[in-house]
Amino acid sequence: MPVQARFFIRTALVYGLLAFLLGGLLLINQGLTLYPRLGALLPVFYHLLMVGWAFQLICGVALWMFPPLSREQPRGNERLGWVVYGTLNVGLLLRAIWEPWLAWGGAGWPLVVSALLQIVAMWVFVWLIWPRVKGRAKPKVQ
């Protein structure tokens, strides 16, 4: 498995753990009504799960297993893969911190940065993986 795929998949697993930890706490809190303000973390739970875990796992597996782009660059431009990794994770962490902060009365502007970073990550991922969605190359006729 290439280094980049390992980074994506291991980070996805960490987000999976965090998401279910948070989801479990939210359920416990809902049942026992320990601290009502924790409810502001619900959208963070959804996005840790669907962006941090699911999307990131898909990125790692797709970059690893989709048909190679070419013999010289089997996984396309790997630097773009790192751009996806960086923007996605910085954007998601900003969201995880500032979305509840906003609900508790804090500033909202870091979430604008977070939104832009996550949009960039997903568009660059599509740009990177699109040419690798292809059938088997036909053998050249001599």
Binding site: A54, I58, P67, L111, A115, V126, V133, K134, G135
Partner: protein, 174 residues
């Protein structure tokens, strides 16, 4: 990768572009509402300020569209596209079974998702019966799409097995 998987995966990537953009705009609007980007009196607002104010309200209607886009258009369709590609073949010739069912799933899923995504933002302009019809059709198409894919994939979920090569199979038959 077979043609249907290419169609499903590329379509799912297009849904991802739409879903991520809508999600990003929703988050920005939640953080710093577009209506506050330009100070003006709501009664007399015109031009860009009026457009931003209207957009801030209308964007909220896209919230459930964002969920349909990301869960059905992007993730479910990607999973089906990859499953059609990698699930075990049925015989030595590489048959994937009833491909018409999988194509049926593709069209029903995308049309269903399109209706489910468009209904909430268009709801305020549509007569009630038409909005309800879009939802009923979208829901029905979701059911058809998933039933078709289950029917297609069920026989392909099998234990590992070795198929004889087609030439040998035909030689034995002779």
């Amino acid at each position: 990768m077979p043609r249907l998987s290419q169609w499903m995966i590329r379509s799912s990537l297009l849904w991802l572009l739409l879903g991520s953009t809508v999600g990003g705009l929703l988050l920005m609007n939640k953080a710093v509402p577009f209506s506050t980007w330009s100070a003006c009196d709501p009664q007399t607002c015109t031009g860009w300020a009026a457009l931003l104010r209207w957009l801030a309200g209308w964007l909220w209607a896209w919230r459930s569209s964002h969920v349909h886009t990301m869960l059905v258009g992007w993730m479910l369709q990607l999973a089906y596209g990859v499953a059609f590609w990698i699930l075990p073949r049925l015989d030595a010739r590489g048959s994937r079974g009833n491909e018409a069912l999988a194509w049926g799933c593709y069209w029903a899923l995308n049309l269903g998702a399109l209706l489910a995504v468009l209904e909430p933002p268009l709801q305020s302009w549509l007569p009630g019966w038409l909005a309800a019809t879009l939802l009923v059709l979208g829901g029905g198409l979701y059911i058809v799409a998933n039933a078709a894919f289950v029917a297609h994939a069920w026989p392909r979920v099998v234990a590992f097995r070795l198929h004889p090569r087609p030439e040998r199979a035909s030689a034995k038959a002779e």
